[in-house]
């Protein structure tokens, strides 16, 4: 029997001033909304991508255009035989996703037939399909970059805002129309590898080592750190917090001034990125330099330079060795299947795309809308530049169309900020799953991106999760490490992690990458073999376990834990409280 986790308080009021028509957008199968009675009948999982919570604009646009148009549309056009994409609901500011099942056997059979035509077509044309989509998006991106917002007449900001949203929506169409077939191909290959007796821990390795745009970005950022060291600025970085680094460097003068000029030039090329996925509420690195400085500060803590070329060579060697090892254990007939699957997956390389597309889509796709909203805020005399992000879409269009931004709306924004902050602090207590929890799921995005599998589904339903001391998950990157756990809600807290500590979080995304240069291990609630943490963990040689389900619940900040990335096991060795007690011990032993 499926277990039902009641929705309870989450079906109550939503953002102050919310009206159902605020969610009146086109959708394909199921519309997004706050949780409502009856939602218990479906399965809902807490989406790790937005652990900060989402503002009204961020919540409605992502859920409508990303999930309810993007995934549902792609699930129809591929299609997925037994699934119709992902829909979503909100508990406070927190997004829960849900796979929409197709249950009519006749429909499933018809959809399977269409998949039989469309998947091979996609795989044969993958490169041109992705590159055409990417180039289209880059052209639109260039259009927005060519606009000097300061010169746009206020009357035209509404048009710009609509265009910016449309850019995001189109990006999500391209995103999921590529992601679904790539994942289906990957998981079919993965399943056949498992059936042929191949150690599934190796499957990710078969596809690693290809250079991506995000890796290029990391190298360029690292080059800046090397420049800072050469300019004798290491101490400045060591002595100051990232948030005050620009000030400190300016005050330092001399070589620091030149370095800052280089840094700003660098930002113009690489700084159009947020530390979040498709979240209009999060600034770019240009707007807020803190994380860029933080990453450079982290790089400079390490005594030795990171050798990117050696790491890349090593990744390729590891890949080739893993492939050879796997092939040698297969019969010739199996090798034919394996070689075909490997070739198809190397051509349409999901781990590569997963990293690369983040650069072109997820990390920057909301920036034109954000900037237009900020410009509008300036024009209407808002209290803060991000006020517009606390409006719902129809309210935003009204303001852009000239409706005075005052009295009621202004105070609603204040109330909604409080609502956002309130739910932000409640993130760690949000149930990982709600509604009717199945034993396993079939949607490839849920399986691979969210790491939802029978084991993680069992783990999140454990009522005693907070007291568990032995956790299991996907063995994502090999090796064993022991250290102090740092449990982070979002990458905003990355500065709390000291070298040699263990990162514990719901999930990581590309902006967490530099942290892998200093951590001893990583543990995530979500994510499969090909999640960001898994890929980067393997590349940096950091033992990593993903899809634990309850890592952020069971592991306390400061606990001493052991991470076994070879066997997918995490053990809590000593609770932070005990460690603190031991610290007062006269022996002084940790």
């Amino acid at each position: 029997m499926a277990n039902v986790v009641p929705l309870g308080e989450y079906t109550g009021d939503w953002y102050p001033g919310y009206k159902p028509e605020h969610f009146d957008f086109p959708y394909v199968v199921d519309a997004p909304s706050p949780f409502k009675p009856g939602d218990e009948d479906a399965f809902w999982f807490l989406d790790f991508h937005w652990s900060r919570g989402l503002t009204p604009l961020a919540a409605t646009l992502w859920s409508a255009d990303g999930y309810c148009a993007g995934t549902q549309g792609a699930s129809e056009s591929l299609p997925l035989p037994p699934g119709r994409g992902v829909t979503c609901r909100f508990a406070g500011t927190h997004l829960y996703g849900s796979p929409i099942p197709e249950t009519d056997p006749r429909e499933i059979a018809a959809r399977a037939n269409r998949l039989g035509t469309n998947l091979p077509h996609f795989l044969q044309n993958y490169r041109s399909i992705w590159e055409a989509g990417r180039d289209e998006l880059e052209a639109t991106w260039d259009y927005f970059r060519g606009i000097d917002l300061a010169t746009v007449p206020t009357a035209e900001l509404g048009t710009l805002i609509r265009q910016a949203r449309r850019y995001h929506k189109r990006a999500m169409e391209i995103h999921f129309n590529v992601m679904y077939p790539m994942l289906v191909n990957f998981l079919g290959f993965y399943g056949s590898c498992a059936e042929m007796g191949i150690d599934t821990g190796l499957v990710g390795k078969f596809l690693q080592g290809e250079d991506t745009k995000i890796m290029e970005l990391d190298r360029e950022l690292y080059a800046l750190a090397v420049k800072a060291r050469q300019a004798g600025l290491s101490q400045v970085f060591a002595d100051n917090e990232p948030g005050r680094m620009r000030e400190a460097l300016s005050a330092h003068g001399g070589s620091a001034s030149q370095w800052l000029t280089d840094f700003d030039d660098w930002l113009q090329v690489w700084g159009h990125r947020t530390d979040a996925t498709c979240d209009v509420g999060v600034p770019s690195w240009i707007e807020d330099n803190t994380n860029a400085f933080g990453n450079i500060k982290t790089f400079l803590m390490k005594e030795t330079d990171h050798d990117f070329e050696a790491a890349a060579r090593n990744a390729l060697d590891e890949r080739d060795a893993a492939i050879d090892a796997a092939r040698s254990g297969l019969t010739r007939e199996e090798q034919a299947v394996f070689d075909g699957g490997l070739a198809a997956n190397q051509a349409a390389n999901f781990p590569w795309w997963q990293d690369d597309h983040n650069y072109y889509i997820d990390l920057k796709v909301m920036l034109p809308l954000r900037q237009a909203c900020q410009e509008l805020a300036d024009r209407v005399g808002a209290d803060r530049r991000d006020d517009m992000l606390y409006l719902f879409w129809p309210e935003l269009l009204d303001v852009a169309a000239g409706k005075p931004y005052g009295g009621e709306l202004r105070s609603l924004v204040t109330d909604r900020r409080q609502y956002f902050d309130h739910w932000h602090t409640r993130r760690s207590e949000m149930p990982k799953v709600l509604g009717t929890v199945p034993d396993s799921v079939e949607d490839p995005v849920l399986i691979e991106i969210f790491g939802i599998n029978p084991g993680s589904l069992r783990a999140v339903q454990n009522p005693d999760a907070a007291n568990e001391t032995t956790l299991t998950g996907v063995a994502a990157a090999r090796g064993i490490a022991t250290g102090v756990a740092r449990v982070l809600q979002s990458s905003d807290e990355l500065h709390r992690v000291a070298p040699g500590e263990i990162l514990v979080c719901e999930s990581t995304s590309p902006n967490w990458t530099p942290a892998f240069g200093k951590i001893a291990a990583a543990v995530c609630d979500g994510g499969g073999m090909l999640s960001h943490a898994a890929i980067v963990g393997r590349e940096y040689g950091v033992p990593t376990v993903t899809a634990v389900g309850i890592a952020t619940v069971a592991i306390g900040d400061g606990d001493k834990i052991e991470v076994d990335g070879t066997n997918g096991r995490v053990t809590i060795l000593k609770r932070a409280a005990e460690l603190a007690g031991a610290g007062q011990d006269t022996t002084g032993q940790p």
Partner: protein
């Protein structure tokens, strides 16, 4: 009866059994060995005490009515006999076989055959494997596999004669009795033959399957092996080396060396093969080299081709075997694993997605 030894059909030689009659006369185990011999497979020397000989013994020595008298109350009970009742009946019948002597003619005939075997093997009192070879055993319904007795290392005519009678008695082990009672089969419908087979001096032995015994994958040969005789493997008391070989190209796909704690070795004092502790220096050593693996694969593949269906075999590498020689096959039977679905021959992303992603079951390995 004149006392003169004539060919009364009590003994049939492995290398002389008539095709088509071998299994009927010598039971399935020895009959198959005769079959393999004709097919050119290297098998040990030996003969079978035939089904007829067993039948005549039961009739002439008056065993039939005594056995029926013991079994009658068991079959009469509509609720079925208790385990204890079956055990008591089994012990009583087996004791009958041990205490009831063979006719002089049969003794003479088996003794003569054994002496002939010694000559063929160029040995005095050649050690033998005395194996039950029931009719119906090892057939498609393998429920009887391993249920009847085998004695390894039986040496000298008197011991061979005793072992033959003990094998006859093993048709009435408690397990066999209980099985037949449950299925309503009469022991008269499955008489037994007994093989007396040269005991190959084994350096290493094992089993080999022409398909994967668990998954049914037909693209590989699976071998399990240890030092010494194969009894410890067949009985499951030793964890054997596990080898998988691709059939198409003969490539070793995996070789897992096990810690082999027990070995079936010949006990010269006792004159039989027995299970003893494996010498430390052998326990973790890889048993087969690539040449030996190739010879096993060739033998099991040839037998599969001969029968036209998957088989498992028991094989022995004799101490005297040199590289290039064949492998001695001591037993063969059909594999009872259910054949798997057709294995894919090329990468088919649609079929694999349907099978592994959209099947309603978790993706394998997750």
């Amino acid at each position: 009866m004149t006392g003169v030894v004539v060919d009364s059909g009590s003994v049939v030689w492995v290398d002389a059994a008539e095709p088509g009659e071998a299994v009927a006369a010598a039971g399935s185990k020895i009959g198959r060995l005769a079959d393999l011999h004709r097919a050119g497979v290297e098998v040990p020397q030996g003969f079978a005490v035939t089904v007829d000989a067993y039948r005549r013994h039961c009739a002439d020595a008056g065993l039939d009515p005594r056995i029926d008298a013991i079994l009658a109350p068991l079959a009469a009970d509509p609720a079925g006999p208790s385990e204890a009742e079956v055990g008591t009946a089994s012990a009583a019948i087996r004791e009958l076989f041990v205490t009831t002597p063979m006719s002089d003619a049969l003794v003479a005939e088996i003794t003569e055959a054994y002496e002939e075997l010694c000559v063929r093997c160029v040995d005095v009192n050649v050690p033998t494997a005395v194996r039950s070879s029931a009719t119906g055993e090892d057939a498609a319904d393998a429920s009887f596999a391993g249920i009847f007795d085998t004695y390894l290392g039986v040496s000298g005519a008197p011991r061979v004669l005793d072992a033959v009678r003990a094998c006859w008695g093993s048709l009435f082990t408690a397990r066999a009795l209980a099985y037949r009672l449950r299925k309503g089969i009469s022991h008269h419908d499955m008489p037994i033959a007994v093989g007396v087979i040269e005991l190959i001096h084994a350096r290493a032995s094992g089993v080999a399957f022409s398909v994967h015994p668990v998954t049914g994958k037909p693209d590989r040969v699976v071998i399990e092996t240890s030092w010494g005789w194969g009894e410890a493997i067949v009985q499951g008391v030793v964890d054997p080396d596990h080898i998988e070989v691709g059939k198409t190209d003969g490539r070793v796909l995996r070789y897992d060396v096990a810690h082999k704690a027990i070995v079936s070795a010949f006990d010269f004092a006792d004159g039989r093969v027995t299970e003893v502790e494996m010498p430390a220096r052998l326990a973790d050593r890889r048993v087969l080299d690539d040449e030996q693996i190739g010879a096993v694969v060739e033998a099991v593949s040839a037998i599969e081709r001969h029968y036209g269906y998957p088989v498992d075999v028991e094989w022995v590498i004799s101490r005297h075997r040199r590289a290039g020689d064949g492998i001695c096959i001591v037993q063969s039977r059909p594999v009872t694993v259910t054949a798997q679905e057709q294995a894919p021959v090329a990468y088919d992303p649609v079929a694999l997605a349907q099978k592994y992603v959209f099947s309603g079951k978790p993706v394998p390995g997750r």
